[in-house]
Symmetry: C2
Subunit: 396 residues, 2 copies
């Protein structure tokens, strides 16, 4: 089933041959290749919702490097800021939306994808509202603050027959992809242990960060902000799902930053293969975003392994393979172009809502364990990736 003309308009794809486009919700993509470099007029428009640091410093600049999508609209509660950013990016005034009139975006054919870059507790509302406008949704991680919200978001996408992609940028980052690919190849034997330490070490004293220190708004403090990279990292590096989860928390409750959220959390996961993951996260101490995978025949080190830029991949083996040289790419640009190609039906959705939901469940299990003195929580749900990024996504 092909998309209707109206669909095409909504996708910002009016003028593109419908023959290129398959049903985005159910088709198996026939082609898996990097984002096509499309003329400006054929790029899918992205509405960026929320103009915080991540949008201003990473996402909007990345949208100048994308090849298949382009910045099409801004949604912000700060009209002055929005006008300035619009001007800087050659957006017309009518491409600025407030949160109140966000739903009018339904009638904006320039926008095909809504990228939710709001504080975590707003992800659910804006994802569901975006689906109601008929747009596809790219949503920042963590996808929500509760498992129930995450489930509601997935249901809303299904009901709207629209794509929900979670912005796990490491699934599109060349060095993480190369590590996944090498581990899957079996050349290093079996992966046995993953260590992830995702610690920010920041004061978070900028008022715009206040929501990160609010349990209701963040869903978990550092765990939801940085720790999720380690939770997701252990899963995509091992390509399996934990069955036992436990964690201890170390929070100075006299520190005004940590009135409601946990600070330092250190956890262990056990996987069906027997593999173990040790992980940690914290707002107060850091700063690193690193992972190690210890396989039978090699240690793979990503240190840093989950930064925006400057990640390293080193292989300690016999003989040492040393640093893996792969050109750096703009992770955000690549991720957004991937979303564009998902919408076009050219590539599979490798980080769907279900991928984000699994991390929500694991964060909930970690938080439950910390509340219950570190008790081991048995995880009885099942999750299997439909598309392993190591297979689906080119390294670069």
């Amino acid at each position: 089933m092909s998309l209707s003309r109206r669909d095409l308009i909504e996708l910002g794809l009016a003028g593109t041959s419908a023959a290129l486009i398959t049903n985005v919700a159910s088709a198996q993509p026939a082609v898996q290749q990097p984002a096509a470099k499309l003329p400006e007029g054929e790029r899918i428009g992205v509405a960026v919702v929320g103009l915080g640091k991540l949008s201003l410093e990473q996402i909007i600049p990345a949208l100048r490097k994308t090849t298949g999508v382009k910045l099409a609209a801004l949604v912000s509660g700060h009209p002055d800021k929005a006008r300035r950013v619009a001007a800087e990016n050659n957006l017309p005034a009518d491409a600025i939306y407030s949160y109140e009139d966000f739903d009018r975006i339904a009638r904006d054919p320039r926008v095909g994808i809504v990228y939710i870059v709001l504080p975590n507790f707003l992800h659910k509302e804006y994802t569901i509202r975006a689906f109601k406008t008929g747009k596809h949704v790219l949503c920042e991680k963590p996808m929500a603050t509760t498992v129930a919200d995450a489930e509601a978001m997935i249901a809303a996408g299904k009901a709207a027959n629209r794509q929900l992609m979670i912005a796990y940028r490491c699934h599109y980052e060349p060095k993480n992809l190369e590590a996944m690919r090498r581990i899957r190849s079996g050349r290093y034997g079996k992966p046995r242990l993953v260590v992830t330490d995702m610690l920010r070490g920041s004061d978070l004293n900028d008022p715009s960060d206040a929501w990160r220190l609010d349990m209701v708004k963040s869903g978990g403090g550092a765990l939801a902000d940085m720790g999720i990279y380690g939770i997701n990292g252990a899963r995509y590096l091992l390509n399996e799902e934990p069955v036992e989860v436990r964690a201890w928390e170390h929070t100075d409750r006299s520190d005004p930053r940590f009135k409601t959220v946990p600070d330092l959390v250190a956890w262990q996961f056990r996987f069906p293969s027997g593999a173990i993951a040790n992980g940690s996260t914290s707002f107060s101490v850091g700063g690193t975003m690193r992972w190690d995978v210890f396989c039978d025949k090699a240690r793979l080190r990503g240190d840093p392994g989950a930064y925006y830029n400057g990640n390293h991949l080193e292989i300690f083996s016999s003989p040492d393979e040393g640093e893996v040289k792969i050109a750096e790419v703009d992770q955000f640009a690549r991720e957004m172009d991937w979303m564009g190609d998902v919408v076009r039906g050219r590539v599979p959705l490798v980080s769907p809502g279900e991928e984000g939901l699994q991390d929500m469940r694991l964060m909930a299990a970690i938080l439950q364990s910390t509340r219950e003195g570190g008790r081991t929580v048995t995880v009885d749900w099942q999750y299997k990736r439909a598309h392993d990024p190591a297979v689906a996504v080119p390294v670069a």
Copy 2:
């Protein structure tokens, strides 16, 4: 109370002014300074028990660099090897002992210290036999294979009024000492998290390593061999003792190496301050010996942090202090010279039997936890260092 002439002979110190020497078992050392550089004739003689790789490749070469002790005897079950090593080190033929006639060393005035470098299960027997000869004992880590054996060794030392030092070389290694000292100074705020990954990644297919893969002889496989560096490391870096311990094991029992010992063990410790340690060890995967300490205001990285040579200490802070440049020393030489000065009463015993016993208890708790499905084991003993190496031992 000064030592008797007979004591001095036994210590290989005949001819040294007795005024320099205080009662070795009970006096508070008046002087804490690096090992004195003594004329050959005044150095305390060391008998090395066991001529395996560690003795041949590290300890005996180090005894050519020591300044207060010297190689005085060899104890071996291989007469040919012993004769070759004796010749290489200018030892007379009567300085070679077999295990059967080891006890004759009591009448050898050239020997003041017996250094036990045997497989773990023999530490107890030879330590106790050495104390019966009236000598002091330096014993490799882990000090024994069971808590009960460790306790018996300590009791034997007390009964003989002789020193028992456990060969924790990192307590004498400049970069580890500098890290301890900086953490204790408070300049980085409180230490909150320690991560130690001590993984060998070796086939261990040399017949001389077979005992390491035997639970009775090793006391714990990789945990006893490498993991102990992480266990002890977390303790000396944090300068406190765990109160909760838990661990999971990941062992391929179809691998002929792991018929009796655990392979990969990943643990967590919780400390009274709230600090947490995540640790791991393995014979089959590796290879690294690294630690990280995350403090309020800095991350201290030792990577590698517990090798014989080539350790690094880096400080990530704001602004980054970067790599700490401290000249490398021969850890084994320094450790043995320290033991010499302990015997002379010049410096405190910073790694006594009680230090080793604490690690024995923690290893037992880890193994208990792995046997009981990873249950958290509450540690109800108390241990307090009499002498913190960070205070007592000069950096270099």
